[in-house]
């Protein structure tokens, strides 16, 4: 199975699909699947619904493929379609959790005092099982207001850049940065005390040494 993610290969693949090699669409969409699903899960908060919406999104991307102009990255365009699919479902269902009310508007200062732990690096490691760690992280992210959760998802989980994230979410790059800052501060405050001792040890496991 080949994945296409470099823009030139992508453009060529799209051209060939439009010219009739329909089966190439599988490889075109594959690198975007994860981000599609998790963006929708972040909006819809339900696995089955997110999966159905992800399938619907992939079909819409296929049907609209001739409309893709290449002025943004393909993935950005796909995720905008996914987000619209998710928002459409939320509007219909009216089951939307009003959790975005918990988020501050971008101008407000708010209290983003971090968790203070002077001993992050010195605390002996209490072994956190991988599964346990995963659950802690998922719960912390699930607990964020939606506006922040989406930004964390795209920036820190799917590792999209600020510009792409702003396009997908329909907000300014400044708003992406503000929300990301707050989201990370909330995650740090929630997680740092629980993750004490899970700091990188020995080898440079996490890419940073100080």
């Amino acid at each position: 199975m080949t994945n296409v993610s470099n823009p030139e290969t992508e453009g060529e693949t799209i051209r060939r699909i439009l010219a009739g090699e329909k089966h190439l669409f599988h490889a075109l969409i594959r690198p975007c699947e994860r981000a599609i699903y998790f963006l929708l899960f972040s909006l819809l908060r339900n696995e089955a619904e997110a999966e159905d919406a992800a399938q619907e999104t992939a079909i819409k991307v296929y049907r609209k493929l001739h409309l893709f102009r290449g002025d943004s990255q393909f993935r950005t365009w796909v995720l905008s379609i996914a987000r619209n699919e998710g928002l459409g479902r939320l509007r219909k269902s009216e089951t939307r959790r009003e959790d975005s009310l918990d988020a501050l508007v971008d101008g407000e200062a708010g209290d983003f005092t971090p968790a203070i732990l002077t001993s992050w690096r010195e605390v002996p490691a209490e072994t956190l099982e991988r599964q346990e760690l995963g659950k802690l992280l998922r719960d912390a992210i699930d607990g964020l207001p939606e506006n922040y959760r989406n930004v964390v998802l795209l920036r820190d989980i799917e590792e999209m850049d600020v510009r792409e994230t702003a396009i997908v979410l329909g907000i300014t790059e400044g708003a992406v940065k503000v929300r990301l800052h707050r989201a990370r501060a909330l995650l740090q405050r929630n997680l740092a005390p629980k993750l004490k001792g899970f700091a990188p040890k020995g080898r440079n496991l996490f890419g940073w040494t100080r």
């Binding site: 699909i17 439009l18 010219a19 009739g20 329909k22 089966h23 669409f25 599988h26 969409i29 699947e33 994860r34 699903y37 998790f38 696995e47 999966e51 992800a54 399938q55 992939a58 079909i59 296929y62 049907r63 609209k64 493929l65 001739h66 983003f112 005092t113 971090p114 968790a115 203070i116 732990l117 002077t118 001993s119 992050w120 690096r121 991988r130 760690l133 995963g134 992280l137 998922r138 992210i141 964390v152 820190d156 989980i157 590792e159 940065k177 990301l180 800052h181 990370r184 501060a185 995650l187 740090q188 997680l191 740092a192 993750l195 899970f198 700091a199 996490f206 890419g207 940073w208 100080r210």
Partner: protein
């Protein structure tokens, strides 16, 4: 002017992303050299950022890809070229 801890916290996220100018970065670095609290805040925030990026934290439901591509196959079979 010496910057204080609250000032550093405001820029933690931008600092991690390399999105602060050289002068501010130098000031923050200088502060971090002597402030254990801010060093720990920075380290723990970085670790959180790194940990959430781990693919194993967020896994697709089992069989997700198979079901998606099976549905796409049906769609592709029915459709004209897009």
């Amino acid at each position: 002017m010496r910057i204080d801890c609250k000032h550093v916290w405001q820029y933690i996220s931008a600092y991690i992303d390399g999105d602060v100018d050289a002068a501010l970065r130098a000031e923050i670095d200088k502060h971090l050299e002597t402030c254990e609290i801010c060093s720990a805040v920075l380290d723990s925030t970085r670790n959180v950022v790194v940990l959430v990026a781990d693919d194993r934290v967020f896994e697709l439901p089992a069989g997700f890809g198979n079901r998606l591509h099976a549905r796409l196959d049906r769609e592709l079979a029915l459709s004209e070229s897009p």
